[in-house]
């Protein structure tokens, strides 16, 4: 479940970065169209918000938010490193990580 939290947080940050000119240009080329920018912002925020749920499930109500901060930090560091050194992988991981997280979660049940 920690993997799912990480995956959602990572995807959220990636979407937020795609709403910014510099990163959109690097990853997809050109500036993002208005609608896409808005969609990226909303989707990113939603994904970041959702990523707290697995933390609650795994660590409970009081420790969950602490773990969530750590997960967000880890996801953001991972994204920044990938954007700098392997931008293609950065894009690829966004759907992959949450998918792995979901499988790991349901696989365990």
């Amino acid at each position: 479940m920690a993997a799912l939290a990480l995956g959602l947080a990572y995807a959220g940050f990636l979407l937020l970065s795609l709403a910014m000119d510099r990163h959109h240009r690097e990853l997809l080329g050109g500036a993002p169209p208005r609608v896409r920018r808005l969609a990226c912002r909303l989707g990113g925020a939603a994904s970041l918000g959702l990523s707290i749920l697995p933390c609650f499930a795994l660590w409970g109500w009081s420790i969950g938010p602490v773990a969530w901060c750590g997960v967000l930090t880890l996801a953001a560091f991972g994204l920044v490193a990938l954007l700098a050194f392997a931008p293609r992988a950065a894009l690829l991981l966004a759907p992959l990580l949450p998918a792995v997280g979901f499988t790991a979660w349901f696989g365990l049940d």
Partner: protein
């Protein structure tokens, strides 16, 4: 001083960060190591690990304490856990003011005589006392932590493009730019951690730094404050009549029934062997965030339950939450791994900040460097690479010093400080890229060869621990070798890359560093 607010804050950030920066780096790094304090101690005394249950450990501990200190004023037993698997004994003999301590060897049931080591305790104490007299160390670290808080807040204000540059790291750019990017990313992305850890760090010693509330409300009676806030049990008076101590097993069973998840972490016995002996069992950390002090007080001779203490007043719970956040004492590897990562980010944030200060002021070409800049550069190298080098050397000393050496634990610490001092000397004599590369190279060798040293000196090397699934020791070996690998990569990069032209000072300033 006709300056804007942001420039003012930039000035504050620069100096509140630089002056205590070297101490802060050491506090951050040794503090991060302290998340694995129990594991480090276990790695340093691998033969003394205890894998049985808490009642078994207690039986062994009481038997040995009865042998070596039957007339002590008090005993304290640290019950082993998975993350801290040593049986720790503390006792205070009559006519002595301080506790003595030892670790029990579960194989012989006696106090371990050989291979003495401070283990993870050394890094832990250093983290807030700097190996100085405690009162001095704590005040210095407290002042530095306060400066850290100032540096964090002024840094956030100074950082003009905090959202625009949120994900930005441009390693290929001019050196100064990359350092600034790295400093910003390390600071911003782990900002909640940096703020919380610095603030809660001050909280841990709040009654020392700000004693006035307690002085006023309790008329200076610290004991009364502790009794009320933490529900400390007042020590009993001895009856003067000898009486045998009751069997601990039923008492532990009672406690474990009450605290099935948290368990018993500490056992304290006041006046063992006296008719008025008291046994206090303290609870471990529970599944909730706040550290809650819970104690069961038993009569030492009859084993009758006298009292169950513990308070959940809002202020007590708030302090307990702050302490748990600072100590990062959590079950399970994931959460502690996240704390480790954040702690390393904090360390790297301070380190990059220090390096950035020097990089921004480095003169172009062959211009002479002033004394101040050379001093900062030497302190930077000796701290940022020298301290981890010395810490890895501490692990080497643990394996290489003879087991029967008198004052062995003291010698380990001497080796640590000798290496650190050498790193500063080396930094002064070999300034610049080559010096950095050499220190990184030594640190890399120390880290990468540690598993090899383990193979040569102990029976707990990776060839044994990995197949056995002994993740505590294997994880320590692999983790330390991982640090070695990181230093090896740094050394290679520093050795190969040519000297880059320094970024012009004016431009960096204009970009709002």
């Amino acid at each position: 001083m006709k300056q804007g607010f942001r420039q003012c804050m930039a000035w504050l950030h620069t100096w509140a960060g630089l002056i205590p920066g070297w101490i802060l780096f050491a506090v951050f790094l040794t503090g991060t190591a302290s998340y694995y304090r129990g594991e480090i101690s276990a790695w340093m005394r691998p033969d003394l690990r205890f894998e049985g249950s808490a009642p078994e450990a207690t039986t062994l501990a009481v038997r040995e304490l009865q042998r070596i200190a039957p007339d002590a004023v008090s005993w304290l037993i640290g019950v082993p856990t998975a993350a801290d698997p040593l049986i720790r004994l503390y006792w205070r003999p009559k006519q002595e003011r301080r506790f003595r301590d030892a670790i029990l060897d579960p194989a012989t049931g006696r106090v371990a005589e050989r291979g003495e080591s401070k283990g993870g305790e050394f890094f832990y104490r250093f983290h807030f006392e700097l190996h100085l007299p405690p009162i001095w160390g704590r005040w210095i670290v407290g002042a530095c932590a306060m400066a850290m808080l100032v540096a964090i807040l002024s840094g956030v204000i100074t950082h003009r493009r905090i959202f625009a540059d949120f994900f930005t790291f441009r390693p290929g750019k001019a050196a100064g730019r990359s350092w600034l990017d790295a400093h910003n990313a390390l600071a911003v992305l782990a900002l909640p951690y940096h703020l919380v850890i610095t603030y809660t760090g001050l909280i841990t010693l709040m009654t020392m730094y700000m004693p006035w509330g307690v002085q006023l409300a309790y008329k200076g009676n610290q004991q009364a404050f502790l009794a009320e806030a933490l529900a400390f049990t007042a020590p009993p008076r001895p009856a003067g009549q000898p009486a045998p101590l009751t069997d601990m097993a039923p008492l532990l069973a009672t406690a474990l029934e009450r605290w099935p998840e948290a368990g018993v972490r500490r056992i304290s016995v006041q006046w063992p062997g006296d008719a008025n002996a008291t046994i206090i069992l303290s609870r471990g950390d529970g599944p909730e965030l706040a550290i809650r002090r819970r104690e069961l007080v038993f009569a030492g001779s009859s084993g009758e339950l006298r009292d169950a203490t513990g308070r959940d007043a809002p202020a007590v719970l708030t302090a307990g939450t702050a302490l748990r956040l600072h100590f990062g004492r959590f079950e399970g590897p994931v959460l502690r791994g996240l704390f480790l990562l954040s702690g390393l980010a904090g360390t790297a944030m301070v380190g990059t900040g220090l390096v950035l200060w020097a990089a921004k002021r480095a003169p172009k070409g062959a211009a002479r460097r002033g004394f101040g800049l050379r001093l900062v550069e030497a302190l930077n190298m000796g701290t940022v690479f020298g301290l981890p080098l010395a810490m890895l050397g501490f692990f080497w000393a643990n394996r290489l010093l003879p087991a029967a050496l008198p004052l062995r634990a003291e010698w380990e610490i001497r080796v640590f400080f000798a290496l650190w001092l050498l790193a500063y000397l080396h930094a002064a004599l070999r300034p610049g890229r080559r010096g950095w590369a050499e220190q990184a190279g030594v640190a890399a060798l120390l880290g990468l060869l540690l598993p090899v040293l383990n193979l040569l000196t102990t029976h707990h090397h990776l060839g044994v621990t990995l197949p056995a699934g002994d993740w505590l020791l294997a994880g320590m070996d692999l983790g330390l070798a991982g640090f070695g690998l990181a230093f090896a990569l740094a050394a290679l990069k520093l050795w190969r890359a040519p000297q880059r032209a320094a970024v012009p000072l004016g431009r960096m300033r204009a970009e709002g560093a």
